[in-house]
Point group: C2
């Protein structure tokens, strides 16, 4: 039998655990990446999305919607990633304001190197703690939070 939590409202109980667990897991992943001399999670997410759209190329505003970053944040993030030689930003022929994002070979390489480190950290932080069925249940409940 679980002792039901009669003190705090259910939203608070969920939020505190959600905040702590996501902070901890994120910290673990970032630390493992840094220890391996690799870029941070943000870079990975950006590289992945750009790589996925590599046939047509990706516009900055499209990436912004997928990454859930503020516009100025993404603008500067891409400046840094481009400065590191992992992506290119070429002017968009169909829209003079815009740019087309593409991964470079080096960018592909770096993302591929990051993946096993990232995956191992996730496995250690999550799969090691939950039965597979619980992981699926947890993912399902989180989906409801996301609408």
């Amino acid at each position: 039998m679980h002792k039901p939590d009669t003190q705090t409202p259910p939203g608070e109980a969920v939020w505190t655990r959600l905040a702590r667990s996501s902070d901890r897991i994120r910290g673990r992943i970032e630390r493992d990446l840094a220890d391996a001399g690799l870029p941070c999670l943000q870079w990975y997410d950006a590289l992945l999305e750009i790589e996925r759209a590599d046939r047509e190329g990706l516009r900055q505003f499209e990436l912004q919607q997928r990454l859930l970053l503020p516009q100025y944040g993404l603008s500067r993030l891409l400046q840094r990633i481009a400065a590191a030689g992992l992506i290119t930003r070429t002017p968009c022929p169909a829209d003079g304001r815009g740019q087309i994002l593409r991964v470079t070979a080096q960018g592909r390489q770096v993302r591929a190197t990051m993946w096993p480190v990232y995956a191992a950290a996730m496995a250690a932080a999550i799969e090691a703690k939950l039965e597979p069925g619980d992981a699926a249940r947890l993912a399902g409940l989180l989906d409801r939070l996301l609408d």
Copy 2:
């Protein structure tokens, strides 16, 4: 019937949803607080812990363990909160290196004002999306992630 996710490993499915949902909820809470002209979540958490320990007072290193912040981050956070007049930092008689943190009346007042905004944001972001039983299940699963 749910279609089981055969593509991505369970850890990844959990992590992406965990990251997105906690970012969204945090964003919602921070926005509501900012719209109400109130300090951010970090300040709330610090004020709450200090207020809880107000009989004996709280040392900085104790607060650090509870808030899960880097030492220098907390040092400067407390400088700002103290500059705003919400806490005091008095030298610790038992340990010349240390300081004792206490809330001021204004600090108490500010935290009390923040609470209903914070609680409403949590309720809107979480309780509105989940049945009470699901919230309890979600909290339980997250507890396992936290060891």
